[in-house]
Subunit: 381 residues, 2 copies
């Protein structure tokens, strides 16, 4: 694999610079006509939205305006806005969880704020104090607290987004930007229990590359994958297993990070995920699984490169125990089948019910919903 992609963060996550908005300045305009809540049993991911949104405008000339919480409504966007032409757009995804104790919590939102700032910097979009955005998001969730499902599995999805809105057609940094946050209730990814997925390991299409933006949550990483995901569907697979380079390094699965649990050649039980080498999105769930796994001290936890050859060798030798994707939407997503170079490989993941995958799932869900105390949660209400 080529060089490591490390963008020097010139400014820290929690800046004290005046070039940020302040949550204390937030203007709140509540709607008088809230929308009816959708049936919590029929939630489709990303299709339902809460009553309010947060918007914060920025111009290079005047800096950040005051944050505004207002009823969700369409934006007025000039046809030449750079976001519509040059994909000057980044986003984040996190969730709010309502516990049995009535509290609403966020899960490691500091990691989302930090990543959003690295994405903004790589996209030459304006930066800000991540703590202030987090406080704005808390205010937004407080206003729409009724939209956080009363459920042990449904949650409120939160989508911070930052786009370049300057209405000029030159390819260049956007002098006008809009930061906004929309939220909406989402159901559990697996409402009826784990459904393992099949993957198309595509040897031609590529998600990210050295010197690109694969390590940032930029819109540019997603549009080009849709065609490839349709190829996967046409072959009976739900997701793409993204490979890179001549040695077919495993990088990600669908829009998730990927983990393999195997008995390595030394006989040790090893949990492997690809390292943050510039091709991999630094996922919050990924980091949390690594952190949890290391706490347990029962298995070797490795961030290292792994090729299709190594994966298939472990599979052939019955050393591949489990494989799963990891992301905010599903938490964990077991993989049971891979199509690679025309051949099908039926993995052992579900043979014993994917105990490690489920252990991570349960541990994380218990923390997120406040059933297990943790420093990783942040109270909203």
């Amino acid at each position: 694999m080529n060089k490591i992609c490390l963008l020097a963060l010139r400014r820290s996550y929690a800046t004290t610079s005046t070039s940020t908005f302040r949550a204390a300045d937030t203007i709140i305009k509540k709607t008088e006509h809230g929308n009816p809540k959708p049936d919590p049993n029929k939630l489709v991911f990303g299709a339902n939205f809460s009553d309010h949104m947060l918007t914060i405008k920025h111009t290079n000339a005047s800096g950040w305006e005051k944050p505004v919480i207002e009823p969700l409504k369409p934006f007025s966007i000039h046809p030449a806005a750079k976001v519509l032409h040059y994909a000057i757009e980044i986003f984040e995804g996190l969730k709010a969880y309502r516990g049995n104790d009535g509290k609403i919590r966020l899960f490691r939102p500091d990691l989302n704020m930090k990543r959003m700032l690295t994405s903004a910097e790589r996209s030459v979009l304006p930066i800000f104090d991540g703590n202030e955005l987090l406080e704005c998001i808390k205010k937004l969730i407080q206003v729409d607290a009724d939209w956080v499902p009363r459920s042990t599995s449904s949650t409120l999805y939160i989508r911070p987004t930052l786009i370049g809105t300057e209405p000029t057609l030159g390819v260049g940094a956007s002098n006008e930007s809009l930061l906004f946050v929309v939220t909406g209730p989402v159901g559990p990814y697996f409402p009826t229990g784990f459904k393992p997925v099949s993957l198309l390991a595509d040897t031609f299409h590529c998600r990210a590359f050295p010197g690109g933006v694969g390590a940032y949550k930029a819109g540019s990483n997603y549009g080009p994958t849709i065609y490839v995901n349709q190829l996967a569907h046409s072959k009976g697979c739900q997701q793409v297993l993204w490979l890179y380079g001549d040695k077919q390094h495993i990088t990600e699965v669908g829009t998730m990070n990927v983990f393999m649990y195997l008995k390595n050649k030394k006989g040790a039980n090893e949990l492997v995920t690809p390292p943050l080498n510039g091709l991999i999105l630094p996922g919050v769930t990924r980091q949390s699984i690594l952190d949890l796994g290391r706490t347990w001290k029962e298995l070797t936890v490795s961030e290292r490169e792994i090729t299709m050859d190594e994966l298939l060798e472990a599979h052939r030798e019955n050393r591949l125990l489990e494989m799963f994707g990891a992301g905010t939407a599903c938490i964990v997503c077991p993989v049971e089948r891979i199509i690679y170079e025309g051949k099908e490989y039926n993995l052992a993941t579900m043979n014993k019910g994917a105990p490690l995958t489920i252990r991570f799932h349960d541990e994380l869900v218990n923390i997120q919903f406040g059933r297990k105390p943790s420093k990783w949660t942040v109270d909203v209400v």
Copy 2:
């Protein structure tokens, strides 16, 4: 270099399918208050817009709506529209030229229509009959004919764009789309004669990669370049020379295709541009330079891979005669200096006034403005 990226075009450029809009159905709503025209001597690229725009909506359920020509105004876009999050967006760029004979002409617009369809297909956006879009664009220019500069160098820039507008946050094909075209007057790229540019040959950042979308005019190719272009500016360069892979293959320059004119080791005068191997945008100016050069039968015209090593060897041995970028905005753009691995290379391009570069420029401009008859131009009015 890895595999060649060729997307099978399942449908041809001029489809007879009913799943297209028809120019004959166009609804025209003219403004009663045209905007004042900008000073033709102070035109900034992409900052001025004509009075009208073309919009055509599409839903997967109902297909294409009727084309509408109406006064330019902001779009109403839902905050969850896929274009704002996942860069589901493609575009084209072409120009209308007013000749001394009063006629307004387009230059090889069929190539833009063809490329737009390949971009749409790769982005899982709806396709259409390219001839119909071309006829719609002609109608738009007829309505705004006064906006086509009366000039021997200024032109009307035309920006067809296609975006995914479905307001749901799942990463997937957009069931709602908007095709639109805006236009605006632009001045000559070099108002006071050729200004050769300096390039930063970046060995880390990468524009495109095998299995990606470098061969399509997708927004995703542009956003990630802005940061790198700022790096180039910080080193006193105007543009980035985009390289690929361990052997530092030369691919593009800035947002242009790249040409090198050299005396090769066999002593022949050779014009080289990288081949359409999936990393290169199939530029209309690129194709026209290749076509013209081949007609002249005076030089060897090659679409072949070329590395930094070969370029610098030719430079050292005084065999590199000229180097230039090629694109719709500038037509040709001479390169006089490259910074590569910390060293500066002052190229011979301008030593004798860049005669080949200028010959291509003049030939193309004469065709575009109708001073030289050609099958490549299409009359609008």
